[in-house]
Symmetry: C2
Subunit: 372 residues, 2 copies
């Protein structure tokens, strides 16, 4: 297995810290080994800090980020429930699709690509008809837009709805603050700002969400993602009951994830957020110097995912191919933005000025070739 | 991350081959990188060989073995469907629980622990009332029993039912032969006889299963495990359509899995099965020399998972603790066998006479101490 060396500056996976990669290859132990039970408890504790929550029910799901989000939907929604989903790009559509799969009647609040949802629209939607659950994407990876959460959380809760957030791209790269914001359940991934390989779906469930899951009329339509079964293995809130086998945890992946969380806490969340902002500012300045512009309005741009307009006359696929030949991955635009924009990610270990310089130099080089 | 070194001779995870561990730490690339798309195609092809199938729909699910089995149930069953599940231990109960979660009316055929199901019982059950799906466990990890599949497959198909097999413990350690046996869908795991870390759920779906999934009345209650969405990413049967993003594949885990499959094919399936039988025979001889006996009748014992009776007066937990202090993991009995038996796994890389000797020496040592 000799993959090419890549600078992964697409929408994730991002390059993990070398120590994370090393942890993947640490000696395997059993999923009920006393050593591993300790790793699980530390992982939960550190993940709580990164989410900004005291929620006991905070774990990396043994599935990718999408699996974590589906865990939220399948446990909190049941057939006939009302849900409101905010859509500002592809990942909002995906939340809506998952809520429908869970059997909910889904109403959507949609905004144009690049824009964000005005809290007044949520207020109006909930005044018209209450909902059990409101879900939005914090950092929309398809458009580079950052959806502010505070007002939406307040409005959802004032109307008695659970507030659910997809923070797949934002977590550990900018503040999410589950408890302070008033988020009832949130799901992220391992391979973006957390800086581990893809494969795990960190989730957190607050007391209102756990209550809703307990008060279901129908059983969940899932064994693998069932919260009750999951926490028989990960441990109940009091730590009082014996752990019961559910599935065999992905031990090596959790080693890597555990190390990634440790590195985040060693760096400090604030310093890490600042590093993401600095890398972003450096990228934007460099792009502007090259005459390139960003798709997303500056008022609500994400730091870790930059959507860059493709200049007139430049061949999208050729540029991405040229970059890949130089060992640099950037991603195409998504959906309607395909052929019109590139997506450039600066996440986790890659949110560094030196790496931005490599990326900028590569892009300048490839664009120069294109123009010849 | 400095886990203790363990000889993992429980029910899995087993120790991976060092080259598999090395592959986990290979440079990460994107999930749509041309290099990785090649790895995906090779993984599918090699996995087909290990399953003994020409089924296009053969992939490692981005979830553990349980997630793979749930994928089968949630796609092949829908509310109101009839299912018959054979139960010869805990993992049969789990199949029944999953089928119920999918909304099926589940009838069970249960046998005493250690025993296997007589095909005549399936014939009688299906004569009484037809079913859409029949599911059994090939290698029951909780009892060490091997359920012969040929007659069950024939009877299920004669009655128009899909035949589904949990081969979590058997695959790559003994013949499964999906096509020759007449299995319509099967699910396994990465961490037992395949010899990779836990985290992936290899599955295969034959044409009758795919047809059944296509002819559903209700949509599947899952986005993450939905077959149609999954194969938009893994590729359609003709390889004609562009791959569409679904979830971000667990790249590093698939590196390890890909390497594990490669090592299996290099060794040869027959040689590998023989190695598992040899290690088993060596273990049984060694145990008998120590005056220990196996729980499972010799007529249908698994080679890779041995259920060993705990001798009168010996403290179960103390022995397992003593073994762990010597760096050797063996597992407790499951359910009714807890305190009465140990489960000793010889899977993948660990199915070697030299490793069995280490295990036997450790057990002899610990038992001697116990008797003092």
């Amino acid at each position: 297995m000799q993959p090419p060396e890549r600078l992964l500056t697409g929408p994730g996976p991002s390059n993990p810290h070398p120590e994370v990669t090393k942890a993947l290859a640490a000696p395997l132990v059993g999923h009920l080994d006393p050593f591993f039970l300790g790793v699980m408890d530390e992982t939960m504790a550190n993940l709580r800090t990164v989410f900004g929550t005291s929620n006991h029910h905070t774990i990396p799901m043994s599935a990718t980020g999408s699996g974590g989000l589906e865990t939220i939907m399948l446990n909190l929604l049941e057939p006939g429930d009302e849900a409101v989903v905010g859509i500002i790009g592809y990942f909002g559509q995906r939340l809506a699709a998952m809520a429908k799969k869970a059997g909910a009647n889904v109403r959507i609040i949609e905004e144009e690509l690049g824009q964000i949802i005005d809290p007044a629209r949520l207020e109006a939607a909930l005044n018209e008809k209450p909902a059990k659950l409101v879900a939005v994407v914090h950092a929309e990876t398809s458009t580079g837009a950052c959806q502010p959460l505070g007002d939406l959380a307040r409005i959802a809760r004032e109307h008695g709805a659970l507030f659910v957030v997809d923070c797949v791209t934002s977590l550990a790269g900018m503040p999410v603050e589950v408890d302070a914001t008033g988020i009832d359940a949130a799901g992220s991934c391992s391979q973006k700002c957390i800086g581990a390989p893809p494969g795990l779906g960190p989730v957190t469930f607050g007391p209102r969400a756990i209550e809703a899951a307990k008060n279901r009329t129908h059983p969940t339509p899932t064994w693998y993602f069932d919260l009750d079964l999951l926490f028989q293995y990960w441990g109940d809130a009091g730590g009082t009951k014996d752990r019961v086998f559910h599935h065999t945890a992905p031990v090596s992946s959790i080693y890597g994830f555990h190390k990634a969380l440790q590195l985040i806490l060693e760096e400090g969340l604030e310093a890490r957020y600042q590093r993401h902002r600095d890398a972003h500012a450096h990228l934007v300045a460099g792009l502007e110097k090259m005459g390139l512009s960003l798709f997303t309005p500056a008022s609500h741009r994400l730091p870790m995912l930059n959507v860059v307009n493709i200049p007139e006359g430049v061949d999208d696929a050729c540029v991405r191919k040229g970059m890949l030949e130089r060992g640099i991955e950037i991603a195409p635009g998504f959906g309607h933005l395909k052929g019109k924009a590139w997506r450039v990610g600066l996440m986790g270990y890659n949110a560094r000025v030196e790496r931005v310089d490599v990326l900028l130099a590569g892009l300048e080089d490839v664009l120069r070739e294109q123009r010849l």
